[in-house]
Amino acid sequence: MLAALGICFLSALGLALGRRWCSRLSPWWVSIPSLLVFGAVLGVPQGAAFRWPWLPELGVEFGLRADGLGRLFALLIAGIGVLIQVYAAGYFQGKASRERLLALLLLFEGAMLGLAYSEHLLTLFAFWELTSVASFLLIGFDHGQEKARKSALQALTVTSAGGLALFAGLLLLGWIGGTYELTALARDSGEIVSHPAIGWAVALILLGCLTKSAQFPFHFWLPGAMAAPTPVSAYLHSATMVKAGVFLAARLTPVLGEAPLWTPALVVLGSATVVAGGVAALLQSDLKLVLAYSTVHALGALMVLVGVGTPNALHAAIALMCSHALYKGALFTIVGCVDKQAGTRALSELGGLARRMPWSAAAAGLASLSLIGGVAFAGFTSKELAFKSVLEQPQTQGLVAVLLVAALSGGAVALLLGYEVFWGRAERLFEDVREAPPPMLVGPLILSVAGVALPLASGFWENSLIQPALRSVTSAPSSKPVQLWYGFDLVLGLSVLSWLSAWAVYRRHEALVRLGRALSFLPSGTQVYELFWKGTLGGADLLTRRWQNGRLRWYAVVTVASVMAAPGLQFSWAPGLPSAGGTAVRAFEALPVVSVVAAALYAAATRTTFAAVAALGVVGWGLAAIYVDFGAPDLALTQLVVEALTVVLFVFVVQRIPSAKPHRDPWRLAHAVFATLVGLAVAGLAYAVTQTTPHSKISDWHAANSLAEGFGRNVVNVILVDFRALDTLGEIAVLAVAAIGVVAMYRTKVRKGVEP
């Protein structure tokens, strides 16, 4: 397990660093790392586990465990990974960016494998986010194009917004369950789902799953993501990453399957996705968009099956996940071949390519047959299982209609890709089009052949891959095994119905594309997303202009008001002040206090600057007198000298500043009221503190140890230079910085008199 992850990340790094050297290698050689990863994944035994304390203080652990579902998913990721990387190496042969792409693909593969193997919820989340980041980089791979950058950002925004929700949901789930370990959570599922806060956890986690797997109403980012190079689309946006949401939903079924909201949310939104994606797929003329929307509806169907959550439905979901990865991966790569060789992806132009690209045609044919659900293909088996699983319960029988839409749309897409492109009539003849190079054919061929081979070896498929995966999701066995043929029954009838209607839809495809163009005025998810962006930016702009208006006085009011809010509110709730007695005032003490108060008020009221500065001095001397009176000669001494120096500095500056022109200040009264309130709150706070604080133990310790350990009788000084010397060092450093700032200001020549 670790070997697989290690190879991924290290070879990604190696490729990124050594890209100049690697660029001389043929496509076969640079795909070796992915082959090694595949080998390592194959070698991961059932139940292998690894744990390493990551942040033990927070209970965060790097925990991995290979159960059936994880192994199956990892096998898909690594297996398709090899084929895609061979394909990508061929696709980008001779381009400087080839190694960068491969490195990113490996990085992504590592993140996906980590996700598949994660046992600890937070480990899972870390890998989840890593896949989002890798996807962002891969969609924006062609960063010279604005569309690619925009789509990448859109995908990142949607998936990472979902990621944040997921994070909150996982934390909540961990809090409810008392652990982040999936196995332990599954064990306590009964208690967890009856917790009052579970609804929030489910909603947040589902938000993460739905955004990642492009479910309605977040499905719009996936077609946008088709700006990525085709190998990336094939790998991330059909076979693996978008399935992460489905995977996570399946992963959490043992924990949350019985929770409120879980089944209805998945089924309703999944069904909406099927319909939205299924219809949209038929209205497109760009091959990649056709595939993108057909992926959307397949993901919707997967979500529905996971949401139904019966053993048979989960069985069908896992089988469908496998077969979909196979045929959709093959079809995407073939579209890439066609695009590269024929130079276009427009359905209206393409046709009759079978003679020019026979191998591609063969692969496309096989994959399409699987997609349409041809008998004895993987797609047939999984579709049969899906229909059967929803039919067995009366309350889910209505979902047959949803699955029929999926089958119909999938069938029509299969006809477009497998038949129209290669055998249909085209206006122009593709005389000079040649077959794609071998590295680009291996992937599609193997994937499409696997779609036939798997059902043929149905025992192996069922026993080694699907059943172990199913057992890690549900404890009950499924009653319908994978078979090649289920006999003549209602479900076969449904299949035939879907084939016939798919054919009918296919015949009307051109009309549908025209309809799609006519409907393009309808608001799309992307527009809503952009509106949201604009609103956010506009709102932020407005808020900034309102709050950050550049007026110092406004900032001062906001700052002081915020600071005073806590004590102020406290007093308005509990107006009474505590009273623990105190020391009576002696007559002579009134003098400094009264002079401080009078001077402060005078400084605030006077219009003469020099008078205010002088009043400031009086305040300082009064304070010094108070300090002396209450046993602080050090403070008094310091205060006196500082006050004198302050006055000197003020005089320096004030004498050369032009006196302010007299002005009327409309805010004067309001500020006076505000300042009075602040003063009252602070006075109350100060009084409350004197009534509650006892002599602190820290002070007593300092006083007792000053002579013994610091060899000084003046405790204040010993604290400054010995006990808390590091603090003092920081403080004198601040002084030094202030002085350096002054020097810097005066050494710089400033332009005089900016014109108003």
Binding site: P633, D634, L637, T638, V641, V642, A644, L645, V648, L649, F652, V653, Q655, R656, E709, G710, F711, G712, R713, N714, V716, N717, V718, L720, V721, D722, A725, L726, T728, L729, I732, A733, L735, A736, A738, A739, I740, V742, V743, M745, Y746
Partner: protein, 135 residues
């Protein structure tokens, strides 16, 4: 600032105040005083001297530019922490010894650093703000 009495007074008082500031610094460990107070008094006396006789004269008394004093003070304060780091494994941990029958230790060096730095900081500001007016 041109009063003869003030000028004469400042000129005589300045050395006395400087001596007093050193006295404050040294006795600060046992009685009110210390690096902050001492440094402020020294800086204040030089400011007074400069106000009367011109800042140039005060700078001459100081010899080095105030920034050098800041650097020296901060450097000394940091250095005084090194013996503690080496001998007791903790930066600024006090190390005491006896020198000629008087107890001396790194905290005293630290206090001296504070003293020098405060003089430098205050005079940097005084010189900068006063010079600007004359320029």
């Amino acid at each position: 600032m041109n009063s003869l009495i003030l000028r004469t007074g400042a000129t005589f008082v300045m050395p006395l105040l400087l001596v007093f500031s050193v006295f404050l610094l040294i006795r600060g460990h046992h009685l009110p005083g210390g690096g902050f107070a001492g440094g402020l008094v020294a800086a204040a006396s030089l400011t007074l001297y400069g106000l009367v006789n011109g800042m140039g004269a005060a700078k001459a008394v100081l010899r080095a530019s105030p920034e050098i004093w800041i650097a020296g003070g901060l450097g000394l304060a940091v250095l005084s922490g090194v013996p503690g780091l080496v001998l007791r494994g903790s930066f600024l941990a006090p190390i005491w010894g006896t020198l000629g029958g008087v107890k001396v230790g790194t905290p005293l060096a630290f206090d001296l650093g504070v003293y020098l730095l405060v003089i430098g900081v205050v005079l940097t500001m005084v010189f900068a703000l006063s010079e600007e007016g004359q320029a």
